[in-house]
Amino acid sequence: MTAKRREFWTAMAFVSPWIIGFLIFMVYPLSASIYYSFCDYSVLRSPIWIGFQNYTDLVRDNLFWTSLENTFIFAMLALPLGTFVCLSLAMLLNMKVRFMSVYRTIFFLPSLVPTVAMAVLWLWILNGDLGVLNQALRPILSVVSIVLTHLLGPILGPIRLKPPNWLSDPGWTKPALVLLSVWSGGNTMVIYLAGLQDVPRQLYEAADLDGAGWWARTLHVTLPMLSPVILFNVIMGIIGSLQVFTLPYIMFGSGGAPANSTYFYVMYLFDNAFIYHKMGLACAMGWIMFVIIMVLTLASLRASRRHVHYSGG
């Protein structure tokens, strides 16, 4: 055996765990999943080919559209707000203030909290009657109500603001989940922070010479330099929020109570697979999700082409 060939087989030995894993846990499930998505399959019986029926069934299925819509609404709320908050926090944490490492730790801490514990904790905080959030909001809102009644009472009549019933009012369940996702966005914040620290100092000095204020520097130096990181986080955010499962599953139960308002895509997929044993249908849902993720990722890459600035490229 030549030296080069021996080298090749040595390399194969080193990468063999990945190759075996790739075949068993990627190639096989992917091909099986495509096949099952065209089958009536319940795991207990062998799959029966039914063509595109799973897909046409889904298009006619209201719950499919509800779960998809819920997921998109959640992502559309959580992504912009999360980006804004995480970016602002990162900018704050990039300043020169004493005890900075303590602040950084505090903002990062919630993202370490295991999802199940987070769900349970916030069920307690957001509880309509006993929850500490509403107990804090109640007096504040009653003061605001009195002031508003004084100002607008003659036109609108008495105004009585009440804290929302976060967990049982279908209009407030998604904002509640968005609140949680912002609270636990420490990972994203740290990535922004690392990006901010990579912005060359000379650029700020040059901007200062041009007489740029804080806002101008942010707009013309920080944000353009940070654009690749923002793009990365937005794409990761899209992928992550489309797969949201554990938090709503624990907080609102598998049906997505109240009134299906928290029934998200992966929850419906899970129910189809493991509750109704419609494994083929679940696979079809998986593939639709895969396509949506691909399309959104490519679209954001495309849309960002003009706005994202890569140094040296």
């Binding site: 080298e7 040595t10 390399a11 030995a13 080193f14 990468v15 765990p17 990945w18 894993g21 790739f22 846990f25 990627m26 499930p29 992917l30 099986a32 999943s33 926090l89 704050l92 020169k96 602040y103 950084r104 730790t105 505090i106 903002f107 801490l109 919630p110 370490l112 909290v113 999802t115 199940v116 514990a117 349970v120 904790l121 307690w124 905080i125 006993l130 107990q135 609270w183 990972n187 740290v190 990535i191 690392a194 990365f232 986080n233 797969q243 554990t246 599953y249 624990i250 139960g253 899970f270 493991f274 494994m279 679940a282 696979c283 998986g286 593939w287 895969f290 993720i293 691909m294 990722t297």
Partner: protein, 276 residues
């Protein structure tokens, strides 16, 4: 700067509050958790909620103490962390320290696998493990960790490439095999990167909910995540003080781990974010 400090202090209080409130509730007697307006400082500190949390949860579940969930979780963490570190280090070595034809193309495939969302693979994986008779055992939850994954291969490969190649060359001239170079030179030098991989895997296993939910059937084998959920859903009139004590038990090890490994944590996240 005074303004900035003020803003930071106020925001810190907001971010920290939920966790403080959790611990606060966990040391209150149950009657005090129902009080309006809420009391900040418990009338007396009741640490007994903790031992009670361990046993209370068990009553409705046929006497399975919360402690068993903790042990199960720990066993899984050890198995997955060991598997992840060993397999990914080997594979990353193959992708960074040995030259072979087609390496970069195969590596592109490795990276490509990162784009596949888990829900697509969920059903066939379940079917596969079912055919192997693994449903209801820990095996579906730890065996795959021994076959390396794109994300960790990428992270370690980046790190391995920064180690000077002259070291390997010199060792080769001295007659070392690749296996010896890996074991005696690369692995020891890569300890910080291996620590990051181990940390992330520990966190992932400790937090995992969907995996145990799908594969575990018997409450004796449940993990903390699953146990906490069952605990929560099976208790009608929720004993919030006990539930908060149980949540604290699940969160505390992670926070303690973080305090001892802060730098690796942040560095690891920064690497994944920026060079991804």
């Amino acid at each position: 700067m005074v303004l900035a400090t003020g803003v930071l202090l106020a925001l810190s209080a907001l971010f920290l509050f939920p966790l403080v409130w959790m611990v606060d509730t966990s040391i209150k007697p149950i009657t005090e958790t129902m009080r309006i307006p809420p009391t900040w400082i418990p009338s007396h500190w009741l640490w007994s909620d903790y031992p009670q949390a361990f046993t209370y949860g068990s009553k409705s579940l046929g006497y399975i103490p919360f402690l068993v969930y903790g042990r199960n979780t720990l066993v899984l963490c050890i198995l997955t962390v060991a598997g992840t570190v060993i397999s990914n280090a080997l594979v990353a070595y193959g992708f960074s320290r040995i030259d072979w034809r087609g390496r970069d193309k195969v590596f592109a495939v490795v990276l490509g696998t990162m784009m596949v969302p888990f829900p697509v693979l969920m059903v066939p994986m379940y079917g596969l493990f079912r055919n192997m008779g693994w449903i209801g055992t820990f095996r579906p939850l730890w065996v795959p960790a021994w076959f390396a994954g794109a994300f960790n291969i990428f992270l370690l490969r980046q790190f391995f490439r920064t180690i000077p190649f002259e070291l390997s060359e010199a060792a080769r001239i001295d007659g070392c095999s690749h296996w010896q170079i890996f074991r005696l030179i690369i692995a020891p030098l890569a300890r910080p990167a291996l620590a990051v991989v181990a940390l992330f895997q520990f966190l992932a296993t400790w937090n995992d909910f969907l995996g145990p939910l799908i594969y575990l059937l018997n409450q004796k084998t449940f993990t903390l995540s699953l146990g906490l959920q069952v605990f929560q859903s099976q208790n009608g009139g929720t004993p919030w003080n006990l539930l908060m004590a149980a949540s604290t038990i699940v969160i505390a090890p992670i926070i303690i781990l973080f305090f001892f490994t802060q730098r690796q944590f942040i560095e690891g996240i920064a690497i994944t974010g920026l060079k991804g």
